[in-house]
Symmetry: C2
Subunit: 348 residues, 2 copies
Amino acid sequence: MQKLTLKKIARELDVSISTVSKALKDSSEISQDTKEKIQAFAKLYNYRPNNIALSLKNQKTKTIGVILPEIVHHFFTTVISGIEKVANQRGYTVIIGLSNESFEKEVTNIGKLANGSIDGFIISVSNGTQLKNDHHHLIETINQGMPIVMFDRTIDTVLCDKVVVDDENGAKMAVNKLLSIGCKNIGIITTRDHVNVGKLRTAGYMKAHKENDIEVNESFILKLEGRSEDKNRNEFIYNSVSAFLKENEEIDGIFAVNEKYALTAVKVAQNLGRKVPEHLKVIGFTDGVLSKFASPTLTVVSQHGKELGEQAAHLLIERLESKDQERPYQTIVVATELIERETTYSYT
Amino acid sequence: MQKLTLKKIARELDVSISTVSKALKDSSEISQDTKEKIQAFAKLYNYRPNNIALSLKNQKTKTIGVILPEIVHHFFTTVISGIEKVANQRGYTVIIGLSNESFEKEVTNIGKLANGSIDGFIISVSNGTQLKNDHHHLIETINQGMPIVMFDRTIDTVLCDKVVVDDENGAKMAVNKLLSIGCKNIGIITTRDHVNVGKLRTAGYMKAHKENDIEVNESFILKLEGRSEDKNRNEFIYNSVSAFLKENEEIDGIFAVNEKYALTAVKVAQNLGRKVPEHLKVIGFTDGVLSKFASPTLTVVSQHGKELGEQAAHLLIERLESKDQERPYQTIVVATELIERETTYSYT
DNA sequence: TATCAACACTACAACGTTTTCGTAGTGCAA
DNA sequence: TTGCACTACGAAAACGTTGTAGTGTTGATA
């Protein structure tokens, strides 16, 4: 009982393939009798048009390729769920490719999908690509007529639709919050500058200081390397943060560019005998699983990953289904939101 | 500069399509001169064979469909990363479909992919399907010659390859651990029985008691409803656990069938003034993100999600590439591992 | 009786690829 | 000259689908 095709139905019912095809489309060219007979047969044996053949014929697959640096990461999964939701609503399927932060894997993954398997990409570039600063694979793909929507980790020099988190404003908001609840010396735990988002969040930190006429103390800035594979990474972070907080005892507020850094700061502080939030207030970026469950619960700047994914999917599908070849590229900025929890509780 | 095809190359170089195809395959039928010319041209313009056409011709897509209940869930993402790893190694692509725990979405998702888009499925069934106990969509799919590998949440009456976590032994291991460090009254926080894994883990809890000749006190069993959409779900869990622990003051060990329940138990205990692990020892199931970061860090039974995914992918691909139509179905049991952390620290 | 429309259907091309089967053209032996 | 092998290429079918362009039959009209 293998896959049923038009041809098999045609042979079985002794009509032509065209007749079957038309009958199933309820075409007026076919007599009522024949239509009913064919439709009944198709239903009985559960006929489904072969998607591959349709894709080949229509020159479009109704499939979106999503290339991500990593999947075991709450932010990215929320983005996927947003993409999947919209894609599904609009009749699209989602293919996932993981780059594992490697430039090479990103290139081969894109190559493997950009050969007719999909209609367009939604991509967040790998760390490797950001480091290498080589974007020919993206540009070539776009030039070959395959639309790309970049999200979160975007590249300025690649012209395409983009959906980004308002990192700078989110960071500003966080720092302003810390200032408003009395922090005088705010430290930041961030990544090295080649990571776009780290850079933007650091910029927001700077900007907030500037706008409030506060000088930034360079020693309040801790930049951690971005590699995520190391076994001892957590330990390394812990030790770095520990040294950082010991050296800067006057710090009474911390803005960290991700959840992990933020919670590490909390832990370090507690182990140093400094109470959170009484002595040290902490805000992280990314509303992940940890924030809600940590104790004290962590105040964060939420990125609205799901909305990000939804917007990206919309943008891509709009372009795919638009006849307008000259459609201008858009960049959608998804606002962040400060979710206040215990680490910024103020007793005043 | 649209997609390059054999036809276009043929037209451009004034040879036939067959010649181009053969030249690119380095066939001995074609002269060296012609081959070089064609290969150079193809390379220059970055020719890539159209995957869809190949799929249609070869009647296989080298693509695996993965149907999951949810993606914003650490366990499932680790499974995906395992699937993706193996799939990639063996030249397969991964399509993801989410059921969001709904029977209907699971059915339509499978239907949408089982029409030639993929060669086989890897599925963890939705709660909805488990509740409804309707598996015709799975059985039909298998009958039409499309292999399915079920993982984690499997269904006994559906005959296919399976990869399961050794839930029962994992639970037993956890309970035995609690007993070995002096717990006398061990409670379990589990789900209602229609969830297969909840059932198995509860069975393990029972078995451990039986094997140690300890009678199970029915009031030490807390069964929580499995719905995950409610806004107030966390609150509901908290209150239930709170009532449970208040009513059963003699409980000195808790085995919870997931991370959330376990950590809620820790929180409740702490708020009731009972110290963990001094007064209450806790073990959860699933080695998620929370366990490592909670304080105290949570002892868990790890499910090795990535290995689960790898095994599932292997099983499926082996079946796909095996000529043996009568290949017997296998069930692979992936062992669990007790990862000891602070919530079971024993001072004796 | 020739023409035409309506009806109900079929043939065929196309999407891009691979592969089997042909077949021109050349050189060489019989 | 004929036959044959060899080289280098081309034609065509097939995968499953859709849509356009036929095609044969019937019945009505001029």
